[in-house]
Symmetry: D2
Subunit: 272 residues, 4 copies
Amino acid sequence: MQYLKNREVATEGDLVELASTKSNSYVFVINKGSVQQTHRGVVNHDDLIGKKWGSEITSHKGSQFFLFQPGIFSIHSTTKRNTQIMYPKDIGFVIMKMNIGPGCRIIEAGTGSGGLTQVLAFLVGEEGHIYSYEIRKEMQDLAKRNLSRIGLLDRVTFNNSDIKEGFLEEDVDAIFLDVPNPYDYLSQSSDSLKAGGFFGCLLPTTNQVIKILIALRRSNFAFTDVCETFLRYYQAEENKFRPTDRMVAHTGYLIFSRRVLLQIHESQKQND
Amino acid sequence: MQYLKNREVATEGDLVELASTKSNSYVFVINKGSVQQTHRGVVNHDDLIGKKWGSEITSHKGSQFFLFQPGIFSIHSTTKRNTQIMYPKDIGFVIMKMNIGPGCRIIEAGTGSGGLTQVLAFLVGEEGHIYSYEIRKEMQDLAKRNLSRIGLLDRVTFNNSDIKEGFLEEDVDAIFLDVPNPYDYLSQSSDSLKAGGFFGCLLPTTNQVIKILIALRRSNFAFTDVCETFLRYYQAEENKFRPTDRMVAHTGYLIFSRRVLLQIHESQKQND
Amino acid sequence: MQYLKNREVATEGDLVELASTKSNSYVFVINKGSVQQTHRGVVNHDDLIGKKWGSEITSHKGSQFFLFQPGIFSIHSTTKRNTQIMYPKDIGFVIMKMNIGPGCRIIEAGTGSGGLTQVLAFLVGEEGHIYSYEIRKEMQDLAKRNLSRIGLLDRVTFNNSDIKEGFLEEDVDAIFLDVPNPYDYLSQSSDSLKAGGFFGCLLPTTNQVIKILIALRRSNFAFTDVCETFLRYYQAEENKFRPTDRMVAHTGYLIFSRRVLLQIHESQKQND
Amino acid sequence: MQYLKNREVATEGDLVELASTKSNSYVFVINKGSVQQTHRGVVNHDDLIGKKWGSEITSHKGSQFFLFQPGIFSIHSTTKRNTQIMYPKDIGFVIMKMNIGPGCRIIEAGTGSGGLTQVLAFLVGEEGHIYSYEIRKEMQDLAKRNLSRIGLLDRVTFNNSDIKEGFLEEDVDAIFLDVPNPYDYLSQSSDSLKAGGFFGCLLPTTNQVIKILIALRRSNFAFTDVCETFLRYYQAEENKFRPTDRMVAHTGYLIFSRRVLLQIHESQKQND
């Protein structure tokens, strides 16, 4: 990723963030001769080349911006999307619970707009790999562009197929299913997940959670946890320090489980 | 880290987790001839050697356990500690906001028991590095043992000094201060953080947050965010799916900011 | 209720609260010659007689207390109980949503320990009335003692019967069911609730909520709302103002609905 | 209040609610010959007269409504306002904590649009009374109209004065201050509140809470509690039972305290 190269200044081809304290942020690649439209005036790409990271930039309307190498948070929040993408509050907890880090091999489905894919690809590093499944081709094409934008396309193998047919990989470290009916794919997940590996999914309704709890109990999974995360922002004002008025109340229930090797007979288990 | 080596079976020297659905988990290193005490009977280390990950293990009292390679979540929650350690819900969000990933160079203070240090060391991979400062030597010694346990000691440089004197490193990607008075070390942080880099801290009281908001405004920082994360666990029971009765209501306010290069005069800024 | 008589001083027979900033509160009736045991020493009832409300009282061990006329909150929280009682956070919202106030006639089931009964009896005043049903006689006997303690026994008609048999009253303003299976009693509720009246219940699990949603849709009810309330306490310290560490994460889901007069055929509706 | 008279049908002069499951509710007084505009067509008042409560009503566009006697919740939420009004979730908890009920005499300031005033006037019944102070005359005029609408104007004494000058009443049961600087009026509150009486206020920022904590400590108040309430609504759908997407994250911090009679010298106390 560009921003981990510790050069001091922005150059042609760099992924950059123009951040404003008063409006949106813009994340884009510097192309000589191009201009970036903002809600507060135009910025010429050429004016960014050679500027130090963290510098003030002024638009043609005189508005102040700062030039940054975008972090994964900004990249994620400016992801081009035609689907709902997972929230950082949930992704952060998934990382912790599912042990996502350098070297991991991870299956995800569906790819969607690639919001989660980007973060996973960032975290598994050069030694890790993501296998991302999506049945809708046009979605996956968007995700590819999003991964390409941040230079991590080669860390992801995209697969445009129905996961009902199973996953091509074996012994992956973790599988995350962001699909409406993950309870229909536990057998496929069990086949591709290493013993002891981490399974996770995100479901918006309690009816869906109840279904996956039943399905997990009947499968080779154990240590199932269900939780929700919440994020509450505050006004960062020293004289009026208070929570913001409104917040996201619900993104989904996070379900985590681990594949285990059971000695007892499956049929016995189902009679529990 | 041991558990990223995709061997199928546990061997002498492996860090393992004995997990029970009915009691605590135990994380330890397999030593031939040793025994592991649990609340539900004794397990011989020798009986674990050669067992597949995910296998059922039975204690001498007949209690069921499963043998896992521990994830960072289990490692973190079983950290030997003589201080409060950061919660996974907060660490997960810090990772996202501060762009923690493979190759990052990060300063943290104080080390404490090394709870956060372990997660950071895991995530930055072999190319990254953690510089951890702590004024209390006995704390840092514990942290070193915790890092040694998971085989990541070489990714951390421990520094037993007062951060009032500043940090030895320059141009790090991120600085996280888990100390009671981070507002006293912004100048030191600014000196060691690369321009555009990420600053973060965790503070339990609103009085402290108000102080850091004042201090950040007067320093070379901008884009300050303050937030809280919450985690709500559910009973994972298909017929009685409901939230658990009690939860952690407060761990601390998370404050994030970025170092910027300001053109305007410091003195002017303080007169805002 | 005694404490609404605006006498200035405590007298024999008054319900009083001995409140301590450092330990529990004690709510009891003053009886000449009696003593009140506390965790911080003994207080003679005789020493309270003639004391102004709000006065400092010292126990034989020198501990400080204050003498109050107890509010409904203290009465509720010191209720003798052998069941879980509803939390004030939930009762407060029930009052608002179900229009509980002076003159209301309300059915409640089950009585339980009378925690909610006390608050309802307080709020409906002398013109209102509570009809409280409970199948377990020993529970209701405890509730009677609790109502007697606060002098509101005559505002409540206790009924020791199975609500499967229906309620004796007609055209009540509101019905609140704190029973595990309220979905089994909607027909009985509809028979006793005035048209347009308020129905409410409290259920701990999502499975139960799903059941009542189905049952309400099939009955003469509409405008169903489901919600949860949360209460977060803070340390009331000016230099360390912060949330308390832990909180109650779940008491139950509150369900509210209104009885309507439908023109369409019941059989049609069930085919929706 | 009209809706406590248990007539079965709506008549001229009744306050009614036209409720729709698909759009807003409308609360108004029936006047012969008038029409009610809604987002889903017009309803003639004459068509409501003689209709049973809970009946279906059809607008000229064929949309379905139900005719109700409005509860205090609907009245509150349809209050004409030119100020922010307190939320039901907060009012419900204030009722519990401050022992608001039949017969209570309560001071409130400022009146604002009368949102809280209406609920208090409803709950104190015919024997109780509300003394409501507001410095801005035009606000109070609106509040008077709101109270008049629900027929409770005679339970409220409106006072258009600066509370810096103090309150005219003595020995009231409770005082609630919904003003930005309640810490400036503790002496006035103490003068008018009966010993042992309940003090409450609502403040949006932590800075204000810190100020009132200091002020309360220096005054004749004790047993100070600070808390926040939250309300989370759910989609009331049996097949998609889940929380709603967004919620109100912050209305304000609730502060409660009680007036006590202190034996120690005021001057000593301030040196704490």
